[in-house]
Structure formats: structure tokens, C-alpha cells
């Protein structure tokens, strides 16, 4: 067993491991009760010694209000919270909103949720090609990463090689990882609710440990619970450290000192 896992089993704070939780939400989740929202997120993350939380809004109907809430949360916790913008093409001015989030709110990336696409949608969310191109132009210009759940197609990843795309929960899909491994800007995160024991090892074999990022989906899931699948992966400690934070730091342009 690696040294980080042994320390975790003793319940030690892992503040020197430079962990970055790449996949954290602010806001409610309509299908479940979440005791650990808002300030509790911060308190629990610090208790474990997590260095940074990459936070995006969940199912807020008004995306601008959602982004403003995340910005306020980040402003209240500048030592730990990094904000990501949320946008969708069903609400007008998507590119302008993303630009506002980067330039005025200080966000460091973009999160795309597929759940905005419902059976009432006029068109599939991925089909807004012109709008997505406008958004990705803003993202590429500012060298920001994109975390996505659905939405992003293989063509988008291919057409925007300068943008690091991270498939949310992507560690759970071997087929997708195999299909996308040729694109060096394709990454996955580990925020899957049904993380099988072998998923991280398999992901590392397909993509390499440099393209896997630790994420938890907190507060839907517990930070510590989601550490286990990485720490018990059997990968070398060097790779585990990459997955737990160093890869995210690279995509976010953070230096180790700042993490």
C-alpha cells in the first residue's frame, strides 16, 4: 500500500499532497438531500487537507445568477475555491456570459451540463454548433479548460486542440477513453458514483496518469469516500499524486506553491 493510503487510513490531514478536487458543486440537487452544502463544503475540505475546490453551479435555472453565486462563494474563500462558469445555448448570449465569468468574475474554466437538455428542448444541446464555436473561441483565447458532462462531441475535441477537455465521470467509460485516447487534449475525471475498483488503473493504462483528474461530485458525495478509488488503485505514488492534484494544477495554470 502506498504511503498516502496509509496516512488516510490513520485519518491524517493530507494537506501536503496538493489535492485538488476538480468536480465540486454549489447549489441544490433536486433528487437528494445533501447535508454538506455551502460552507460545510469548505469546512470538510479543510478538515481533510484538500488544497483547492473547483466549483461550478448545479441546477440553477438562471445561469447568470448561478455564476454570480459561485463567484461570491469564491470571493469568500479565495484560498481554496476556484470558480468555473456554467453556460448553455438555451439561454441567450452564452459566449458573452462565459467572457463575463472569465474577465469579471475571475473564473478559471467552464463546466457544461447535459441536464439542461430536456424533452422540451427545441434542439439537442450539442447541435448549437455556431454558439459552441463562439464559446470555445473565448475559452481557447484565455487558455481555459472545459469540464463537461455530455454536450461535447468528438468533433469539438478534435476541432479545438488547444482546449483541455475533461469528461466529467469519464473514468467510468472505458469505451470513450479508448475512442478518445488519440486526442491529447482529452482528459477524464474520477467523479463517478459507481466507481468500480479497477477504473483508475484501467484509465491510466488507456490514457496515462497525466490525463486523469480526481473529482468527487461533492456535496453529492463525500470527499474522503472518493479518495479511496485512487488511493487503492495500485498505481505508483507518483501517478497518484498527479491524479489527486498535480494534473489539475497544470490545467489550471497553478504552481505547486500556490496549491
Amino acid at each position: 500500500m502506498n504511503a498516502i493510503a496509509e496516512r488516510a487510513l490513520r485519518g491524517e490531514r493530507l494537506s501536503d499532497v496538493h489535492t485538488i478536487d476538480w468536480h465540486v458543486h454549489l447549489g441544490k440537487w433536486v433528487t437528494m438531500h445533501m447535508p454538506g452544502q455551502g460552507e460545510e463544503l469548505i469546512r470538510r475540505a479543510k478538515a481533510l487537507g484538500i488544497s483547492k475546490l473547483v466549483v461550478n453551479g448545479t441546477k440553477w435555472p438562471d445561469l447568470r445568477a448561478s455564476n454570480d453565486a459561485v463567484a461570491a462563494f469564491a470571493a469568500n474563500h479565495p484560498d481554496i475555491v476556484i470558480g468555473f462558469a456554467v453556460a448553455n445555448p438555451y439561454q441567450n448570449g452564452m459566449a458573452d456570459e462565459v467572457r463575463r465569468c472569465f474577465d469579471e468574475l475571475g473564473f478559471r474554466g467552464l463546466k457544461l451540463h447535459s441536464f439542461f437538455e430536456t424533452y422540451h428542448s427545441a434542439r439537442g444541446i450539442s447541435s448549437y454548433t455556431r454558439e459552441w464555436d463562439a464559446v470555445f473561441a473565448v475559452v481557447a483565447e484565455r487558455h481555459m479548460p472545459v469540464l463537461y458532462h455530455g454536450v461535447v462531441t468528438e468533433a469539438m475535441v478534435r476541432n479545438w486542440p488547444g482546449i483541455p477537455f475533461v469528461a466529467a465521470h469519464g473514468i467510468a467509460s472505458v469505451a470513450t477513453m479508448e475512442k478518445m485516447t488519440a486526442y491529447p487534449n482529452f482528459h477524464v475525471d474520477t467523479a463517478a458514483s459507481q466507481n468500480v475498483a479497477w477504473c483508475v488503473t484501467t484509465g491510466a493504462e488507456i490514457l496515462g496518469a497525466d490525463r486523469i483528474l480526481w473529482g468527487t461530485d461533492a456535496p453529492l458525495a463525500d470527499f474522503a469516500q472518493r479518495l479511496g478509488v485512487v488511493l487503492d488503485s495500485g498505481l505508483p505514488e507518483e501517478d497518484i499524486r498527479k491524479i489527486l492534484g498535480l494534473n489539475a494544477a497544470r490545467l489550471l495554470g497553478l504552481t505547486l506553491r500556490s496549491v
Binding site: 459507481q194 475498483a197 463525500d222 487503492d232
Partner: protein, 271 residues
């Protein structure tokens, strides 16, 4: 009868953490679709327990879910001897089609093979898809009479409704029900309704992963409502171990969730 369920038996491994984990939810046996590099044998389970410092486990046979409950128990009897670390879990099923022993006979088999807990697999493609009480009433009568714990493994939590479970908890209060649901982002609000009313309902940790959830449940209902389980070998046991280790509850509560509560249930089973 000495059951060997004592929490203090930990001479099999060096001290890593102070908790006496007893994994209530794990499987062993032949499986048609193991993950890359996975070994579903009892030996692999014991090796993982040694590696992580897990004191005991309650494995059921995979065959009970994927093939046949009777074969599952025969396989378990032949391949998983009870010990102070391993507490075999008998697959439960309805007997009305004549394929599976009647409840009284089932209890005899359990006693003969040292099994003190049963497991009911509810899966749409399985032996029993729903919690159909008319089919299960006699079985539950027998388990209730002997205080045998029943782990309900609900593959799809949306198929299991509070109304169904409430009928079970109300009618068979002597049968401890350990509920395991694999999804964590589905509607979970009925847990709280049932926890408020029924002390015989327990939920294992893989089915309850919300941030700060352990502390919240302990504060509202006490530490006996959650129990450690892993869903090994699908999941690594380390996931829910760390969930508990880092939770903000006192040491006594952690010990209860880690294994104390389930050890008590096993001891209380009258077999």
C-alpha cells in the same frame, strides 16, 4: 455457542487504524464479468482485508444474484467456511415455485453452515425483481422469529418504495433490515422518513455517500442507522472505510458503524 464475532480479534494484521471493520456487503464466487485483473475468490477477499486492516466480512455468493439462490448457498457451504473473520451470508429467496427450500429448512441449513445473516437480491433480471410481500411473507416470518438480519440488495433503488419497505419494517420488527442501494444521486428522502419510525432499518455506506452524511444521520438518529459495507469487489473497500474514518462523529459511533452494530445483530440471531 461461541460465535467468534468479537470485535477485538485483530491478530491477523498490523494496526493501521483503530476501527474494527466488518464488511456487511461483499460478494465472492464465480462471476461472468469480472473487471480487468479482478479476482472474486475468498482468498482475494481475505488478502484485501489483510491489506486494509478489515477485521471481518460477511460475503454472499455471486450466484445468488446472477444464477440461482439454491446453487449460491451450496457453493457457499462448500467454499466459504465460517471463521472468526468470515461470516457467510445465505441467499434468501421465495420457495413457492419449489426451486428453493421452505423457510424452516432454510434456517436449518443456515445453522448447519454457520450463516447468521441472509441476503435478498432484488434485480429486474434476477430471481426476484421486486419486494413482492405475498411471495416473501413466510420467509420473513421465519427470519423475524429468529431475529435473522436480512440484507436487501436493491439493484435499482427506484424500484424499491418506502411504502413496500415500511410494510416489512412494521410487520416484521424482529427482522433487522440492512438496505443496500447502489445509486447515490437518486431520491433518498424516504430513508429519513423510515429512520424516524423504525429502529430495525439500517443502511450501508455505499448507498449513503452524501458529504457530511454520516455526521448528519448520527446527530439526528444516532449511530446505529448506518453500517459499514463496501460492495466489494465492485468497489474497493477503502472508499467507505475512508468515508467513516474521516467522518466527524465520535469514536464510539465510528466503532458502531464500522462493525459493532452488525456484530450485535449477528450475535442476536437465534439460530
Amino acid at each position: 455457542m461461541r460465535l467468534g464475532i468479537q470485535a477485538g480479534r485483530r491478530d491477523h494484521r498490523p494496526m493501521i487504524h483503530p476501527l474494527h471493520f466488518l464488511d456487511v456487503n461483499c460478494l465472492v464466487g464465480p462471476y461472468y464479468n469480472p473487471g480487468p485483473g479482478q479476482d472474486w475468490s475468498l482468498q482475494a477477499l481475505l488478502a484485501k482485508m489483510d491489506q486494509l486492516g478489515i477485521a471481518g466480512a460477511c460475503p454472499a455468493a455471486t450466484l445468488g444474484r446472477d444464477y440461482d439462490p439454491l446453487d449460491a448457498n451450496e457453493w457457499l457451504a462448500a467454499n466459504v467456511p465460517p471463521s472468526d473473520r468470515i461470516h457467510p451470508v445465505w441467499t434468501a429467496a421465495t420457495h413457492h415455485s419449489g426451486e428453493f427450500p421452505r423457510p424452516a429448512e432454510l434456517l436449518v441449513q443456515m445453522r448447519e453452515h454457520g450463516a447468521r445473516m441472509s441476503r435478498l437480491f432484488l434485480t429486474p433480471a434476477g430471481f426476484l425483481g421486486r419486494l413482492d410481500l405475498p411471495l416473501l411473507g413466510e420467509l420473513f416470518d421465519a427470519l423475524d422469529d429468529r431475529r435473522v438480519p436480512l440484507l436487501i440488495d436493491a439493484a435499482d433503488p427506484l424500484q424499491l418504495h418506502a411504502a413496500d419497505l415500511e410494510l416489512v419494517l412494521r410487520r416484521w420488527p424482529g427482522m433487522p433490515v440492512i438496505l443496500s442501494v447502489p445509486k447515490v444521486v437518486q431520491n433518498d428522502r424516504w430513508f429519513y422518513y423510515l429512520w424516524e419510525r423504525y429502529e430495525s432499518l439500517y443502511v450501508d455506506l455505499p448507498g449513503y455517500q452524501a458529504l457530511s452524511g454520516i455526521a448528519d444521520v448520527c446527530r439526528r438518529f444516532g449511530p446505529r442507522r448506518l453500517v459499514y459495507g463496501s460492495r466489494y469487489p465492485y468497489f474497493t473497500p477503502l472508499q467507505t472505510m475512508l468515508q467513516l474514518i474521516y467522518s466527524e462523529v465520535d469514536e464510539a459511533a465510528k466503532q458502531a458503524i464500522a462493525g459493532g452494530t452488525v456484530r450485535g445483530l449477528l450475535e442476536e440471531a437465534r439460530l
